[in-house]
Symmetry: C2
Subunit: 114 residues, 2 copies
DNA sequence: CCCAGTACTTAACGCTACTATGTACCAGTA
DNA sequence: TACTGGTACATAGTAGCGTTAAGTACTGGG
């Protein structure tokens, strides 16, 4: 009822890339889940659900890519502020390499298609 | 030519995009599974398994995106030659739009990260 | 008191690529 | 004949990711 469903193609394409997107956001400056969700929506990912982001944050924390700090909020429950640590930055670098390769290949394919 | 070793990141990123890659290959000219696998490897996807491609071909056929023709081979069992049909081309166009959006966002994020 | 906005959690689910294994056809060769 | 290697396709089982859907909890204004 609420909101248009994310297309199947986008959903599948986000697998693997959404993680990189969030890490890239965190590499600029620390942030908390609610904020990240809002920023993603501003940037055009209008249909990303909150649950998706929180689940992702749990995972990258479990994988040791981020540090977490609880910060009290004036408007609601305490925020969990995530910041990239050293392994997280290395992982993000790796992500950009992988992405670069893929973007390269697809750029080539698209050119050949026309 | 430096083949990227398929790690976890690449595996996840290929979800959604591998389908588009194969459809893009088919949009240039019809091809069969064994051939597509070989071409992917030539293009740097050195670790794509045959099984992955065949499963994908089964899926896009089931989804009505391709036509299939059995063509005898001189060197082995008959080939199943796949070609894009009209829905397949429409789907590929949609794929490029989705990809374009994602590549755009990530390009922006990468720029901000430096 | 209720409600809207803020903020986080998590089980169940669908989809995709991967792994591993199997079948089958053919040419060369010893 | 038997064996090997290259060609060609099929598929069950598995892991991982994003999504859905439901929930908890804190705050300030009507």
């Amino acid at each position: 009822m609420t909101g248009v469903r994310v297309g199947r193609q986008m959903t599948e394409m986000l697998k693997g890339t959404l993680e990189g997107i969030v890490l890239a956001i965190l590499s600029v400056q620390p942030a908390y889940g609610y904020d990240i969700t809002a920023r993603l929506r501003e940037q055009g990912f209008t249909d990303i659900a909150e649950g998706t982001v929180y689940a992702l944050l749990v995972r990258i924390e479990r994988n040791g890519l981020v540090e977490v700090e609880k910060v009290p909020s004036e408007k609601g429950p305490p925020r969990k502020v995530y910041s990239l640590n050293t392994p997280g930055r290395a992982y993000l670098d790796e992500f950009w390499v992988t992405w670069g390769f893929l973007a390269d290949r697809l750029g080539q394919l698209k050119k050949e298609g026309n």
